[in-house]
Symmetry: D2
């Protein structure tokens, strides 16, 4: 079996999981190299999982011609330059979301992708590859819900992770760019259209710290799309029950709801608290399968010489909308795109 | 509007609620008299709800010719004699379940009912009048689940009511007679057949006190019915989450489940315990509507000169099965009927 | 027992149910008179339920001094004048929602209520009296969800009732005034604040007929309240599964969801469609209990000489917000209050 | 990384999936050889997945000394002899359930395992490795439900698979041996005790064909365990909604329910059928993860030189109970063990 040889950059919260998935859960992939500015991380991963090459310098990794593809899970502000460099160096590229943190960065990535049409580029909107979201998409495409009317997307981090969120707040870009961008991508994908007008509000309901960065701990937005459909987004940092990513698509003939109860598993508990389900506590738990599926799709695209459904433009467009929502929120105004 | 004038005996846990329902929630009924050996109860009810007649002697109440019907919620051992006396005195009669505590008592009631064919007699198997059970019955009758295969019935009292249950244990007749008799009636009604063989087991898992009376705090039984269908019963006193009465009927084409989550209302709570529903805590809460519906049906039967679906024979037959289950449990053997 | 004597005007879809409830389900009330411009309705109700007085002229009913209170379920445009007339004539008054169809009407009603401080006035925001909503309110008041962040309210009529909705569209006032006004009242009540800014969008996704009246068949609004909380409203006419009124309140320590599955009863069905619950099909089914509870509260207020929690100002304020939402929707703009 | 080299026998419905999992989803395993009496299956698997060795003769495969372990998914009647042969040939062995189809076979396997204490032997009771069951077991072990009272286990195949079930009926051993054996293992595991008495009933409710083999299409059993706990089993071939494996453990302080809704994924659908979840349709879909986890555990045990929790005795004991249930069912009697 042909195996795609991958070099992965970024071994943090998510990058480490990606690296592990590439190494062990994608039959036709091989994790040949890892890279992080943190030498310890590189050493540990190499040793534990038997990875041949380790780098602390990204551009050095790009000189390793045994590689077929580069997998980017570094901090968001580095994505676009790293994408461009990797494509220029002749590799297929997967990058975590968001594409970039500014529109200029996104344009840089777009240019590189357009120049290297023979290479596969894919962006990490993994929710599209979650079995439940994929199932919902198919229902919509086959007309099961009629014409879509409204998309509702919630992305809530659990309160117990608030410390990390606060620390990270100054370079997160705000709730819309950091969290709601996934919902923006889902809305565009499921409604099959682009946002036209956005109003956004929110505030610091529990944690004034976010206010320093003109951000809120809970925010929401209402958007009208070009095809007349609507989207309501809610993003928050204080979910009491766990990591809550839920989505609803209301259509004229049917309604789909995905994960309105973010249940950990199929166990139901009956005790002094009533009848209850315990919940997923972070994105690694909730989207475990989606992270595998998206990498599998990336690798399959390379092998089968085709392009993934998520393109570089999905990155730019969702970023533009996230920025517009951020502007609407900061200035409490209606933004038209 | 013609109003049926009712005299109610027994003003305890359930009798008081019945009296209140008759007085205030049945348009075409009037609570004209109440009776209890407890003078205080009689006084209080008369005063609070403006009830004209009060008695501490049941047979005195039967001499009140202004009454149309007698409603019995006295202790189980009194039911059959009171039924017989009331029918003899010319009244329509409603009696709480169980019909009697011995087969002889039941036969006495049967004879009285047969002698007074012009009178309405009804037994308080109120579950049949609960909107959810009535809905399920209709689904079965219209063939929605195909041919019934298995009936599963749980009746669990909440642990927090254990003290009362222990105190009451010596004259309860045991779990099968006191609690599972409702499930036995449901099984007979929904499976449309009679039990043929029974095996029963159980024990004292939390409260050895029940052992004194050869009873268990949790028991179960498996029965085959004459038409080949099966019934599994579970009755317990230690439900951690509330008052749990749930039923399942598995058919060849569909399955119905009633109240597998005994939710208090339509509120769902998401908090540190997960996603949960709080539960009903006693029979008055869970079957509030059913208690009204059954009395309404009793009154309507009198007015419309017809007989209710629950007959005196349902009382005898469910009692026979409950006794057989008790015997099977006590002697750990298979009982054939 | 003292019984409040009530005269009811309007015997249509809702008025007939109210009349029935007053007649038969409110112990301390008596339905003494009914009124409708439709003589047949009056005759039928009088005959079937044995109601003493019948009128086709509202002002004639007001001359009946045997009455204590007037109950208004007439078309919305008549409410305020009828409220004023009834208060002037010395009666306690209950009026269905909305208070009025214009701000001027509302002010007329306010003036009448202020002039007759000794009379009880109550407005029919019955959802507040639904057991589930009342339960949720108590949880919020006792701090169980911390500080409220977001209110989400859906009010969806079933597609199968679309014909009536289309016929009624020209004098409904639009989705926000006709349907979302209940959610607006809930949001004000549960968030304990007033709306400050509103953006609203929507369209005709299935039924272009609503477009004639500048209305949509599905609309939504995002509002910020003065205390910083947020509210998202969705109102529609095309629910595929039934009559769907659901509400969510997200707080910093807990989240409450009410009726996200508008289940008909406690029966769950397992068949070729999966595992499913059948749904309530109209407001009479869903809010049966709430309609009784609100009238009970009205009657109790009269007897106990106190005022209900829902005031005439709740009517005016929810109307103002509903108008602002309508304006935002029609002109696709942000409206500040 | 050290990889355990595995030879797999049986490439049928389940064997093929096991082979695929070993080849691609177990990092530290390698599928070196496959075996089936069906040459085409062997060829196809070798070609598609690049498997080095292929055999149609099991004993030939046992002569391949490059192998570390043998993985058995052949027909049940072959298991014990193949286990014995493989252990004798010096391999670690994994065998699908049931251990054997007669007690003699089981004893043969036991003897072989006892003789080769240095080898890892594991039996395919995969449910124990399903994340939800593993989670439930941990809750029980840490006392979260108090003392177990009752185990309820359902195993229902979907009606749409009935043709295969009927064809297979003559050598399935009957519902208790073929299907309920999983529940028997779960009951033993979760109740931590052995069955003492069994009563079983059932019949052919939809498919008389099973009657030819003295089997039913739906059967149930009630068992008392030595430690006083109870178990109720139900096994059927006519589930209308899908592949339904559900389990409940009622304890004195809590109740756990596993997969009472065998939902396919996290999508909820609201349409003309109500609010519903679509269901898993076969064991491969429902237990996908469990099949991986159990093999992973087998491989880890070999590498870490330790023994799995499922032993050869679990195979014998569950078989004995399944036979006793079959006897109770066939003779409609109470069987004591
Ligand atoms: N798709 C999702 O659901 C999801 C979830 C979490 C994070 N993310 C995205 O993944 C990316 C990484 O997030 P994280 O939470 O893992 O971050 P992290 O801070 O935990 O890890 C960042 C990693 O990048 C390495 N790194 C930093 N600068 C580098 C450089 N110049 N060269 C090489 N390596 C460098 C760090 O040493 C670290 O290993 C972000 O873009 C984030 O938006 C996506
Ligand atoms: N259908 C149900 O769900 C349900 C639920 C609870 C009780 N019950 C049945 O209702 C009956 C009453 O149960 P309860 O829990 O209310 O009992 P309880 O002990 O609380 O009340 C019994 C009442 O009967 C009165 N009483 C006793 N002896 C009397 C006599 N000789 N003459 C007149 N009054 C007498 C007592 O003073 C008291 O008011 C029982 O038969 C019980 O099985 C049925
Ligand atoms: N709270 C709720 O959930 C809810 C639900 C439905 C309706 N409503 C409100 O209830 C009111 C009635 O709605 P409906 O759907 O029952 O309307 P409807 O059109 O079915 O009934 C109106 C009734 O008023 C009578 N009527 C009309 N003009 C009259 C007049 N001049 N004098 C006396 N009677 C007159 C009609 O004959 C009819 O009996 C409306 O204001 C509506 O907004 C509230
Ligand atoms: N754990 C579970 O949930 C589960 C589910 C299904 C099946 N099973 C068990 O798995 C086993 C296989 O079941 P299946 O449904 O895959 O059966 P199957 O009939 O679909 O496949 C049997 C396979 O064994 C091969 N085979 C038959 N005789 C052989 C021989 N002498 N030598 C080598 N190969 C031979 C066949 O060619 C075929 O590839 C059975 O024991 C069954 O009880 C377990």
């Amino acid at each position: 079996m042909k195996k795609i040889k991958i070099g992965a950059v970024g071994l943090g919260r998510l990058g480490r999981q990606h690296a592990k998935n590439i190494a062990f859960r994608i039959p036709n992939a091989e994790l040949l190299a890892v890279c992080s500015i943190n030498q310890e991380e590189v050493d540990e991963v190499q040793k534990n999982w038997g990875i041949e090459y380790g780098y602390t310098d990204y551009n050095e990794m790009l000189r390793n011609k045994a590689l077929d593809a580069i997998f980017i899970s570094s901090p968001s502000a580095l994505h676009c330059q790293q994408i461009s460099d990797a494509l220029e160096a002749g590799f297929h590229v997967f990058s975590e979301k968001p594409l970039g943190t500014t529109l200029e960065e996104c344009k840089l990535a777009e240019a590189a992708v357009e120049k290297h049409q023979d290479k596969v580029f894919m962006l990490g909107f993994m929710r599209r590859y979650d079995p439940s979201y994929a199932y919902a998409k198919k229902k919509i495409e086959t007309g099961k819900i009629g014409r879509p009317i409204l998309f509702r997307g919630y992305s809530q981090d659990p309160e117990h992770a608030i410390e990390g969120a606060i620390k990270y707040a100054d370079h997160s870009g705000g709730q819309f760019i950091d969290m709601a961008v996934h919902d923006i991508d889902l809305a565009r994908w499921l409604l099959d259209s682009e946002a036209e007008s956005i109003y956004a509000i929110g505030g610091c309901y529990a944690h004034p710290e976010f206010g320093q960065y003109d951000d809120g701990d809970n925010v929401s937005a209402l958007m009208q799309f070009k095809n007349g459909t609507m989207a309501f987004l809610f993003a928050g940092r204080t979910a009491p029950h766990g990591y809550n990513v839920e989505t609803e698509i209301i259509g004229t003939k049917g309604i789909l709801r995905i994960a309105t109860v973010p249940q950990k598993n199929l166990v139901e508990i009956l005790d002094e608290h009533g009848v209850r389900k315990e919940c997923s506590q972070d994105f690694l738990e909730r989207f475990d399968q989606a992270y595998v599926e998206e990498v599998q799709e990336f690798v399959n695209c390379i092998i089968e010489n085709r392009k993934p459904a998520v393109t570089v433009y999905d990155g730019t467009k969702s970023t533009i909308i996230a920025y517009a929502a951020t502007e609407a929120f900061k200035e409490n105004k209606l933004v038209r795109l």
